[in-house]
Symmetry: C2
Subunit: 437 residues, 2 copies
């Protein structure tokens, strides 16, 4: 009777775990240097938390269960509702802006496919109660800082952004009803993933009036937003701009100016296809894509100013993104940028004298207590075989326990010297550098 | 509509998360210096994996769910079955001994009480295919190394061990049937947690024959095992020792000798009350207790030589322990040994000139890319107020952006000097030390 791995989940053998930890370390290091502090919440939350945020449709996409008290619980599909719950609970005592990050494991009851698993890790960066466009830009900077940190370039990955706020107002100005607006969002979200004709069909279904469709189409296809004035854009789109339009455009421009000041404008471009589906976004939204464009986004996020209020708190501005480990890992591997990681030892202890086996254990205990990464051969064996074991374990030094002392062998240079047992730790620390390997 | 935390789970606000990470870092550091490598598995496993290991009773103690394909899944209550499944799948290619560690989050559908939550983290250390008594002792050394690392002493925590193998054979020699043997294990597992009279009652229920009860009682109460010969122990207990008895005793003595060589015998003592419940242990077993003895064990483990075979693999010796974060955290807090951790910044950037806001962002971006932990004031404000913000954020330095340069203020000494903007990173790195804070 052999047991299988549940589909859509992963085993992390030490080799894969080292790669995971390398990703987690980069996420953590970049978060911290960008001024974020780490939080986490429970994996199990009340199902109603997700219903309240995303509606009843979400339930079929979750792993849920009923506990012995009859309570409906779910495995978190994302951490943003938990973040909002936690911030709401301490809203009056948390200094703002709240800059929090997290590396939650999350679950989605969907069919596994490339880059899409049922169990994954997702790096989350959020700023709550900060200045709007600047906080949006700071989150994007943090994402780009991570991408550069793991060796990716602006030629390989691109941040594509747009404004849900501007799109919503343009739709309103063209007289598009909310339900039709949702259908437009749905169609845009699929654009680029489906053939152009299929998009055109969805788009026409959403906006049956040809004049409206043409007007919205002009807005969606207008690419000069970076340099055109409000008036020029309004003329091009063929609609009289409202104050809300001008405010949304000003917001985009502030965002763009901040990207430029942060030095990452070359990584980012405006793209009206980015809408982030039917989710709860209210302003700038963005997704980060492999420039080769084969896979789903490596990260996505944006401004969500209503969520805290929807979940029972005050109306406080919020913005952030999530980046999954699966797509990032595939991207790095495909581009040959995954590092070569193997476990190393500082020191491997051995002896050929059976009577000295207790002395080996004693030395091993002392070295480990001194924070020197140490392992040993449990068998008494000839030195040549023991050194082979030491090399197989990637040891930097071998300590050969002999009567009256220790021979320390540098496995990189082959050099060997007798050291009094009492001086071994100091000698090893000196040779390894004070911080170890 | 405000949402609650599910009972028996925890929110980790940044302050609590820093403490968690401090524990995780110690677990990881100690594991690595003891020669272990990290692995992890999925949270969701087939329910049958736990049924196969622990029987049908386990099901009521698990959070389980049925996925859309009708498969019965469970949230892992421990990681040992996953470990066995993973090792079994690669049994022929893994070099032995397999020395793996993990820090899984695990779930138990039980009623929360002090030190017992429904969602917790558990450090796991396991050696598979190593030399028996020595591997048992190496695991115990690793546990003690951790306890010492977080500041606990042998006066505060104690490893209590015994041998399930010796107990099983003594019961067999007294003619105790397997079912009665289980009842004895159950009674012993409760000893120390219930009044002596209640234990006596359970013990008498398990062993109704007074002579047998007296004999087993002599074994359980015999405290001279550390120094007595096999013959003396047999005479004291009043039973003729079998070869298996002598082998089990030899195993204990080898284990004790290794504890001594490792230098941790003062932390450990033989205690026949330690049986680890009805679980699957086959040799040395141990639990680690607060000497004050108020709480459940901080860690427990032992030898489990049959598990890999039970889960469809070969018969390979295995030993290890688990240590939970909840009890360890309570212990450290109660003993005043929890560290004082607060988030720190290397540098806080500010300006009082609105025109220099872009220069602030540019500098912030450069510092962060250079791995300097940096945050900034988004508002233009007078310097005094900005420095207050910097101090509130525990910044080591403040960089005040001015026309034509930067004033760098050491917030520890109060000293301030003008630095050309282009030299700021080098200067900060020099002052912070090459590795940052």
């Amino acid at each position: 009777m052999a047991f299988q791995l549940v589909k859509g989940t992963r085993d992390f053998y030490p080799e894969q775990m080292a790669f995971q930890n390398w990703i987690f370390d980069a996420w953590r290091r970049v978060s911290i240097r960008n001024g974020f502090v780490e939080f986490d919440g429970p994996v199990l939350e009340y199902l109603d938390l997700y219903r309240a945020k995303s509606g009843d449709e979400i339930v079929s996409q979750l792993f849920s269960l009923t506990d012995r008290g009859g309570r409906e619980l779910a495995l978190r599909p994302e951490i943003t509702p938990t973040l909002a719950r936690m911030v709401n609970a301490k809203i009056n005592s948390l200094p703002r802006p709240v800059k929090w990050f997290s590396i939650p494991r999350v679950w989605r009851a969907e069919n596994p496919q490339k880059g899409r698993l049922r169990e994954l890790f997702q790096w989350n960066i959020d700023i709550i109660g900060g200045p709007d466009a600047l906080s949006d830009a700071e989150c994007v900077f943090t994402a780009v800082d991570l991408l550069a940190e793991v060796g990716l370039t602006s030629a390989e990955v691109q941040v594509r952004y747009s404004s849900r706020r501007l799109l919503a107002e343009v739709l309103r100005l063209f007289g598009v009803a909310p339900e039709a607006g949702k259908a437009v969002l749905g169609a845009l979200d699929k654009r680029g993933k489906i053939p152009p004709a299929a998009f055109d069909e969805l788009f026409a279904l959403a906006l049956p009036d040809a004049a409206v469709r043409a007007g919205v189409g002009r807005f969606l296809n207008f690419t000069g937003i970076d340099s055109a004035t409000d008036g020029a854009i309004a003329a091009e789109v063929g609609v009289a701009f409202s104050d809300e339009c001008r405010a949304a455009l000003a917001d985009i421009r502030q965002f763009q100016a901040a990207l430029k000041s942060f030095g990452i404008d070359a990584w980012c471009r405006y793209d009206t296809n980015i809408v982030r589906g039917l989710a709860y976004y209210t302003g700038i939204v963005y997704e980060i894509f492999d420039s080769a464009g084969e896979m789903r986004a490596v990260a996505g996020g944006g401004r969500y100013d209503n969520l805290l209020e929807v979940l029972g708190g005050p109306k406080v501005g919020a913005t952030g993104f999530g980046m999954g480990d699966v797509v990032l890992g595939i991207l790095l591997t495909e581009k040959g940028k995954a590092p070569n990681l193997s476990a190393k030892l500082d020191c491997f202890v051995l002896t050929e004298a059976e009577a000295l086996a207790p002395a080996v254990l004693s030395l091993v205990g002392q070295l480990r207590r001194a924070n020197i990464i140490t392992d040993f051969s449990a068998k008494t064996q000839n030195i040549g075989k023991g050194l082979k074991d030491a090399n197989r374990r990637n040891a930097r030094f071998a300590a050969i326990v002999k009567d009256g002392g220790v021979a320390l062998k540098d496995l990189r240079t082959g050099e060997q010297a007798d050291i009094p047992a009492g001086e071994l730790i100091a000698e090893l620390k000196r040779r390894l550098g004070s911080t170890g390997l």
